[in-house]
């Protein structure tokens, strides 16, 4: 290993990166755009268009509709004049939720008699429909309790004690803002994209340029060539990380709860494995197009299996295992740990070790695969 040759390659790469303005600008702005777009990806089902048929409005029915709206899950957009109109609104998809308040609702409530309210949800999307139905049911239970308490109070009686009370506390993200959860995940995913795309071209582009032949005819060693190509990219990737942190703070108001310095240090373990993976792809590919196709094999599972969008625990065991071979799986845990929980190496060391081990394997494979031969 010669520092001189390594430095020669670094210097060449930096000069080439600097001249390739278009790629440079894309590489620096794309992550920011991705972060902003992904940042709004939330799994909440809020403000669903709702139609209400309330033929005999009363103070009680108005209170019911207001309570629905207060959950923020329902936004009453339509007042149907009859049942047919309500159906049409649902059929056309203009409303996702239909609420039918019976004409005697006010009367029965006032009289302390059981009243029925019908909530119809368009369940084409089962997951979000389930959420809406639960919210509506929960609301019903709460309204009933309130009414009972009030009725008993009017009669001068004390309400009976609740048999079980569940006290839920949201830790780490007390406001339940989904961005607090999503943004760190996106940061990880975007870094995976950036590092993969940066490295895809490293070896294969030399092949396509035709400069490969003369390069490998020099005493340059594979490890020097690869490190020399990767070091400038690590710098670029750190620049990207900084950009993303700034945007997360300025745009989404999400800040790092733990130590930013630790985040930078541990990110290196991630770069080591993800840049290694990209280099491996570049080494085995004959053309850039091939490399780009191979990269899909990594990027798609990264999104789906790493736990960045869907909780890993909900995946079938086999896919959970596959996810273990993906750097992002560990990195998402690291980023969320530092970002949201403010934990340190005492908790995250298994992930860091896994990243380093993965890095050694892929880099080793890339160097073994890369031979200074043409054939």
């Amino acid at each position: 290993m010669s520092g001189r040759r390594l430095w020669g390659v670094v210097r060449k790469e930096v000069a080439q990166l600097r001249r390739d303005r278009r790629t440079l600008v894309t590489m620096l702005t794309l992550p920011v755009v991705q972060l902003v777009l992904y940042g709004y990806l939330t799994n909440e089902v809020l403000h669903q268009p709702t139609a209400v048929w309330d033929p005999v409005p009363s103070a009680e029915s108005r209170a019911l509709v207001a309570a629905l709206e207060n959950t923020r899950y329902f936004a009453v957009r339509y007042r149907a004049r009859n049942l047919q109109e309500l159906e049409r609104l649902l059929d056309s998809g203009r409303a996702r939720v239909g609420v039918v308040v019976p004409p005697d609702y006010g009367q029965r409530v006032r009289a302390g008699l059981p009243a029925t309210v019908l909530v119809v949800v368009d369940a084409s999307d089962a997951t979000s429909a389930r959420v809406l139905l639960q919210v509506a049911q929960g609301l019903g239970v709460r309204l009933s309790q309130d009414l009972q308490v009030r009725t008993l109070a009017r009669r001068g009686q004390r309400p009976p004690p609740q048999p079980v009370e569940v006290r839920a506390r949201a830790w780490y993200n007390p406001d339940l803002r989904s961005q607090v959860f999503i943004v760190p995940g996106v940061l990880g995913a975007v870094m995976q994209f950036v590092t993969t795309f940066l490295t895809l071209g490293t070896i294969v582009r030399e092949r396509e340029l035709g400069t490969f032949e003369q390069l490998v005819a020099t005493p340059l060693r594979p490890v020097e060539l690869m490190l020399g190509k990767l070091l400038p990219l690590v710098g670029l990737a750190y620049l990207n990380l900084t950009f993303i942190l700034l945007v997360a703070w300025v745009w989404f108001g999400v800040t790092v709860k733990g130590s930013p310095v630790l985040l930078y240090i541990l990110t290196f373990a991630f770069f080591f494995s993800s840049l290694g993976l990209g280099t491996l792809i570049s080494t085995v590919s004959r053309t850039f197009l091939q490399a780009a196709q191979l990269a899909q094999l990594i990027l798609l599972p990264s999104i789906l299996l790493s736990g960045f969008l869907f909780p890993r625990e909900s995946l079938p065991p086999f896919l959970q295992y596959v996810g273990l071979a993906i750097p992002l799986t560990y990195y998402v845990t690291v980023v969320r740990g530092i970002f949201i929980k403010g934990v340190g190496l005492e908790v995250l060391w298994p992930q860091v070790l896994a990243l380093l081990a993965l890095g050694i394997v892929v880099f080793g494979a890339a160097i073994v695969r890369f031979q200074k031969k043409l054939d």
């Binding site: 001189r4 005819a217 340059l220 031969k373």
Partner: protein, 307 residues
């Protein structure tokens, strides 16, 4: 033997799957030679150079460059040779100077020596002034010379050049050859390939390669002298008739069209006999005279003998 051997191949075979690119090649290049390998595409020229600089491993046999085996010590070979592949390894988006510096770094040229060496190389190759220019913007001839400079920056004793003048205009080609002769004078051994037979005439020795085999290897004069018989230039009417009667003769080994005249490879007694024969066949002979055989004539002769 006083001459030091720069390059030696012994029983060199290189296969790509079923294809034999180099077929039991034995040759020796003495130190200080201008050794030219000629042959058509696919003859194995590039493969030979790649084997000699350790880029391609021999399937059988071995080759030694300055005494180092390409099989066992490829890194030692790489450090001692300069190589300019057919598709030159220059980075278009770097400046000429940055390209030079890259290769200097790769070969670990002492930093203190680099600056003066690079300047003098640029001066010798008549490239002074291009240092700061982006390589992609240089003319083909200049790029070729810059590639040469990059291959020389570590002072190799052996320089391998793969078709350095293919597609280059004649003016640049002349300059390029002048540069090669300057290197030759400095004692550098040059091994180069070319598809042009006229270039081979400038070599100290020529190897004719055809389908991976060494068809002939000698100095140009020796090669020309090896052609049995002589080559005649013929202008005659009616031309087609002249050709067909000539081809019927066993002592006429080939008749080739060259624009408005024909070239006849003749192994018979004397030219007068042939002229009388043609006139006897009703051919009006305007010109029939011996011309010095070219290396192409020799190559063609060897190929048609082999066929």
């Amino acid at each position: 033997m006083t001459e030091q051997v720069a390059v030696r191949c012994a029983g060199l075979v290189r296969r790509f799957g079923p294809r034999v690119a180099l077929d039991h090649l034995d040759l020796e290049v003495a130190s200080g030679e201008v050794f030219v390998v000629v042959g058509p595409d696919g003859a194995g020229k590039s493969t030979l150079l790649r084997v000699l600089c350790g880029l391609s491993e021999p399937t059988e046999g071995d080759a030694w460059v300055l005494g180092k085996s390409v099989r066992r010590e490829p890194e030692a070979v790489r450090e001692r040779v300069g190589y300019v592949p057919q598709q030159v390894g220059l980075y278009g988006d770097l400046t000429a100077w940055e390209n030079l510096r890259l290769y200097a770094d790769l070969y670990r040229v002492p930093r203190a020596a680099f600056e003066t060496r690079a300047r003098s190389l640029l001066r010798e190759l008549r490239l002074a002034g291009v240092e700061g220019r982006i390589t992609a913007a240089l003319s083909g001839g200049m790029r070729q010379k810059l590639a040469l400079a990059c291959a020389l920056v570590h002072r190799p004793q052996v320089l391998l050049l793969d078709e350095p003048t293919a597609g280059v205009d004649p003016v640049s080609r002349r300059q390029f050859w002048r540069a090669l002769y300057d290197l030759h004078r400095q004692g550098i051994t040059l091994v180069l390939t070319t598809p042009y037979l006229d270039e081979a005439e400038r070599a100290s020795r020529v190897a004719l390669l055809h389908r991976g085999r060494l068809v002939a290897c000698d100095d140009p004069r020796g090669l020309r002298g090896s052609l049995p018989g002589c080559v005649l230039e013929l202008v005659a009417q009616p031309r087609a008739h002249a050709r067909s009667v000539l081809r019927a003769r066993s002592d006429v080994r080939g008749v080739y069209v060259f624009g408005d005249r024909d070239r006849v490879w003749y192994t018979g007694p004397d030219v007068g006999t042939l002229r009388r024969f043609l006139e006897g066949e009703g051919v009006r002979v305007e010109i029939l005279r011996p011309v010095p055989p070219s290396l192409e004539d020799v190559f063609v002769a060897r190929l048609s003998e082999g066929a």
